[in-house]
Symmetry: D2
Subunit: 429 residues, 4 copies
């Protein structure tokens, strides 16, 4: 509802300035329409705006309400605009807000991971290849690797945000109108970075921009799914590396020790859900010819579901990471002598021993490695990004830049809407 | 081969500077190794570098050749580096080159579409919704909408390029090494924008960055598939809007008029192929736990196939668009009176008639519209992005910016490699 | 609700026969429980059975209601059974009913297509390759090919039905119970063909049998999507081969001739939806280890959605085909001389002329073909399955066999349930 | 090559019987053609049949060779047949053979699993839910659940086999021919169960039957992927339940204890590959209109790759299971007291104690369970399909029925080909 009212406010503002034999809206009429639209937005916020079956959809419900209050003035707002136009701008406005929220949520999870990494930077943890114990590593490295993965994912979300940040209004049914509408002006009013250029692409992009956004969400869900899987494994009693927050586990009435990682299993499964949403949208638009086709209706549901699912997963994983407890003793148990072998050989190489000799020397003296201290082994890997060279401040800086970007975008976007509506946006209460 | 030699050249350069009790390589030794690597690259270019079955892979073939020429010096280059390291850096170097080529090819197709649009900007064409004739439009709008779609896709490719443009070297098996390697230095030598930060993420990103790249390619293929479908339809004898270049059609020995659009059908089908490649890679990495897993081997083939397929489709579609001929008469036939109805009603609205009256007036006088001139109808839609307001220079500017970006990137990248290898890169001959 | 009550009725019947130190249910107690379960089923049919938030799910709502009426007797029905057991049997009972309905709906569409084919068997229609006009064909061939496609799809549904038709009860949490339950008896009571054999597979099959069912639905949706696409094309004004039923099209208030094929576009798009549902389920279970995992919860929604979507599409397409009108004149227009060329050459070959000569003769006399009668050309292709050899009775027989199978299955299934519940099933009113 | 020659042999046999003014082939000519075809087949087996670039494909290579030997006789075999016809019949003949081999390979893996289950039927293993230890189970139950899963998958393969087992010949370009060809006769000659009925569906089924087959393969790969994942987990040093055959693991030169499960990781990843192949084929055909479209060419590669991949995985997993060793001691370590809790409570229920009391009693006396014997706990679950009621003979019987079916099919199929070719098929040597 809100996105629809905002779009209409911009459209009517533009119409009130459009040169025409008989001006469609006077400045005063425009203000009355916007005031009613704001009233509807307040109603919607309060949960008291009804969309009846007869309305068919939100667009007609808003139009009906306006017409009820303002008579013909309400009807006129639909001039030089099609329902496709409205759907398109509503989705883009909605997506802008959603992606900014999602950006914040991603950064919060990144920060939670970085905080966790900082708190356990020196805690030794066996590094694995093929899931088998392989080399000395640290909890800090494990956690910060996920933070970095999500930072890259957030860059992808930003790119999808920019692709979405173009105003489709003025496309009408995809072929423009024979009236002197000002598409750049509407775009500015709504706080978009620019108008979609050609009116046909504005229509063809329905579903396509959604697929690009969902593609960015898939990347996030891959990171979350892998994090969830690692946690499911590392909290098994056979590992016990971490303890999950009790309030995010389900128990068993008869097996008091049992803490089932339902939330993590659902996050893992929901990665498939978001991927399926992406595929559905891509498949629909890939087969659709240019120009409006009803097929795109089927892209709306997976798009909304993908956004909601990803955001929910980001929030719950932040709580998960924040409440995660480390069991240093259990972690230490994984350090069998062989885990030290490769590093030891490399050290000998660093001391000038040819590495073939170094390897041989280590291999034939494996038992000697049994006395090695995991913490010392970790402390020796000091180069950039290694367990003892995490330099978390570099990742923190990238996280901070993303947060600043999101704040700045939101400020510009909401500033434009505040000016357009004449009341502070987002509406309060 | 080339990417592998380049990665080794950077690694050995870094090792020659690494502080160690016994320096691993002297400056002179480093130069000898690099000279041999360049020799191998030349051999590979000439098609005379063999990878034997016993080598298993390109990495060992290069090592074997080096060792054959340089003895122990050849063996030492593998110090402080794992095969995963090599695969990862090879793929990223390869992807950088590929994406720059692909970027150019996208821009070339965009420019072909814009050129075609400029040449047929005023040619009327029925605009369709639900594939049914709906409103006056133009060939120029149709073609430039695809140019705009591909420009957006190119932005996505650029984002994937940036994600890829990080140096993974120094990750070793994913947990770093206990030696004072300089990862930033290696990254600079290779012309990467920066090193991947954490060594574990450098490993975990195998497959993930490929999936992000493939996701960007899927967007391109969606645009191409839709363009191909439009062309298949509009070149049917029932439409005849366009004639395909004869050398891109297959004929029938007995039906001389038959021009089968095989190439377009294949482009349409190959969109599914690239989507399947994307799905395969996402599927593999989504289920894989953190740390190296052999599973990622299965991401290489779909990655290479997706890149090659998309590039081939871009090139052939450029030839297709460049050779496309317009049949104005056939296009004009589609303009039945009803096609003018909506625009006509909107014009009346612009003249001050309430739109309900305007609609009624038009609807009851449809036959009057039969005399209307498509070209005039098109000429009346003058606002930004409408058939008579295409402002192609705006899209041309965006295309030019992309081209400049690609040129600049390539220059920085190849400049770094030229400096590293001591010979002009790309190698000639 | 219904499936859950039925499953409980079978379970309690089995428990009442189970040898135990203290029998859990007497025969009379069992009858009381079943009577209450039937009462709940009647309530649910009437829409007056409530599942409260506190209940969490249908299983606990039923248990609460039973306990409210019967006290401890209600609690005891959950003996030797887990909630997983219940979900599993509920889904399989539900799927059995759904697939039988869906089987009927498929057959009805097949019969509609065969009826349409019979009514237009001799109406000439241009056969196409590469979508281009190629050879003489008939409307009857076009329609009956879709009937045959759906008959094959129905065989696949039958196979999925059989895979589903195994009783999972007795699996408990996937590892059985230390009580002498009789799984074969419960399976018989519920009209299943047999019990799932191992209790672990009964659990592991959650999601897997759903994916097999969805795979069968994807095949149906492929057939429907292609039929929809053909109809979208052939009802364009440029073709006009068919007229869609007016009540299944949307119009335009101002363009009275416009009949938008929204329904067909949605069917085409919904094929992607069912495919996405399939992929989601496969992806979830492919990554899940054996034994119960919460992940499978995410398979339920796409499964139900896929079933509902496919059934709705089958029903609407039956209405579409039944109301389809043929425009013989428009169909005849497609017959340009070249369309007859290949057939003509083959005829000459049949008359003993070497085919190279025949081809040459035809090619150099194409204008002669302009006088050919499409109906005659069609009448000459008389072999099995050709336009004049459709032998629709063979497809009708296969359709009849499927209908008989479904009828027989339903009769056995509902007969078992009637016996179990002591009242005629399905419940009336 | 072989499939193509066989198809041609049947076609020419049919043509030699076709009533025509001038018979196309005499019986003697037919025999000469078939003799040459058999010669080509022998050459192909010996690896000495070349397909040159000029041939374009196998069909033309065969035709060229025939014409070289037999002159015009060779050219005539292409009468009343199109290249599509040939591709379609080749693929179906190839698929028949492949699916029979694959069926055997599936049964062999099933039998390996049943053998392994029989050998370790009584070995206790902790049953897991949410991957967490939950209840007493056995190695036999774990292994036989996978056997049962694969038996169901094999049923699906059989269904796909039946769908494929229809002869498409006589479709020509999809619209039949004006000659009295006998499609039923050709179908019988080739050992198909029946001809595809309508000639248009015979063409439209290209890709569709492949997608149905790939769908059946996806089910197998799901089972294999889960089995692989279980084995990866259970062979980690933290579990050590099983030891993989040494020759199916890769090691590390410096960590002698390391046994990497590369094969299992690849099987897991290849499940994604087969799923992607399925998706690609479905995608291509879902969007393709009816009649031949070049798009289907893109279905061939994923189809062949999916078959080959699945078969390779079945074979390697059979070797894996056959060589699997059980570590009973490691398995026993998983049995913490809580694992016995649920079973113990159920036992008390069986002794007449209300289950709420039973649960309470168990819960407050958990330490008492610490002395329990896993083997005894397992022995108490005796009902059908439970750890002590595996009744493997039931699954063995199903496996035997499948084997008998495959043997019978192969015998009928090869018998027909032997008769057609006049030499024993499969060719020897």
């Amino acid at each position: 509802v809100e996105a629809d009212c905002i779009g209409s406010a911009a459209h009517v503002t533009m119409l009130s300035r459009m040169p025409a034999k008989a001006r469609l809206f006077s400045a005063e009429e425009k203000d009355r329409v916007i005031a009613e639209l704001v009233a509807i937005m307040r109603q919607a916020r309060a949960g008291s705006f009804d969309i009846t079956l007869a309305d068919q959809d939100v667009h007609l419900a808003v139009e009906r309400t306006l017409t009820g209050k303002l008579g013909d003035l309400g009807k006129k707002i639909h001039t030089a605009r099609s329902r496709n136009d409205q759907v398109a701008v509503d989705l883009r406005l909605f997506a802008k807000q959603q992606l900014l929220e999602l950006g914040d949520e991603t950064i919060e999870l990144v920060n939670a991971l970085l905080g966790f990494a900082a708190g356990s930077a020196g805690v030794p943890m066996v590094g694995r290849t093929h899931q088998q114990p392989a080399m000395p590593s640290s909890v800090g490295l494990w956690a910060s690797a996920y933070a970095e993965s999500l930072l890259e994912d957030a860059d992808g979300v930003m790119q999808a945000y920019r692709q979405n940040d173009q105003c489709p209004l003025g496309s009408a049914a995809g072929y423009g109108v024979p009236l002197p509408i000002d598409r750049q002006f509407v775009s500015d009013l709504l706080g978009f970075s620019r108008p979609c250029h050609t009116v046909l692409h504005a229509g063809n992009a329905r579903g396509k921009v959604e697929s690009a956004i969902l593609g960015a969400l898939v990347q996030i869900m891959i990171s979350l799914s892998r994090l969830a899987q690692d946690l499911i494994l590392f909290t098994l009693p056979e590992f016990g590396y971490f303890r999950l927050p009790a309030d995010l586990c389900t128990g068993s009435s008869i097996m008091p020790q049992k803490k089932n990682p339902d939330v993590l299993e659902l996050v893992r499964a929901k990665a498939s859900r978001v991927l399926a949403a992406y595929l559905q949208v891509v498949e629909v638009i890939k087969s659709a010819p240019s120009g409006y086709n009803r097929d795109v209706q089927e892209t709306k549901k997976p798009f909304l579901d993908g956004l909601e699912t990803t955001r929910a997963c980001l929030r719950i994983m932040k709580r998960m990471v924040t409440g995660l407890e480390v069991n240093e003793e259990a972690l230490r148990k994984g350090f069998t002598p062989e885990v030290f072998a490769t590093d030891r050989a490399l050290e000998l190489v660093g001391q000038g021993i040819p590495f073939r000799d170094a390897y041989h020397q280590v291999k034939s003296n494996l038992p000697e490695l049994s006395g090695m201290d995991p913490a010392e082994a970790v402390a020796k890997k000091t180069h950039l990004g290694a367990p003892a060279g995490l330099a978390l401040e570099i990742l923190e800086k990238r996280s901070g830049q993303l947060a600043a970007w999101a704040k700045n975008e939101r400020s510009g976007f909401y500033g434009a809407l505040t000016k357009l509506l004449g009341v502070s946006y987002p509406l309060t209460g």
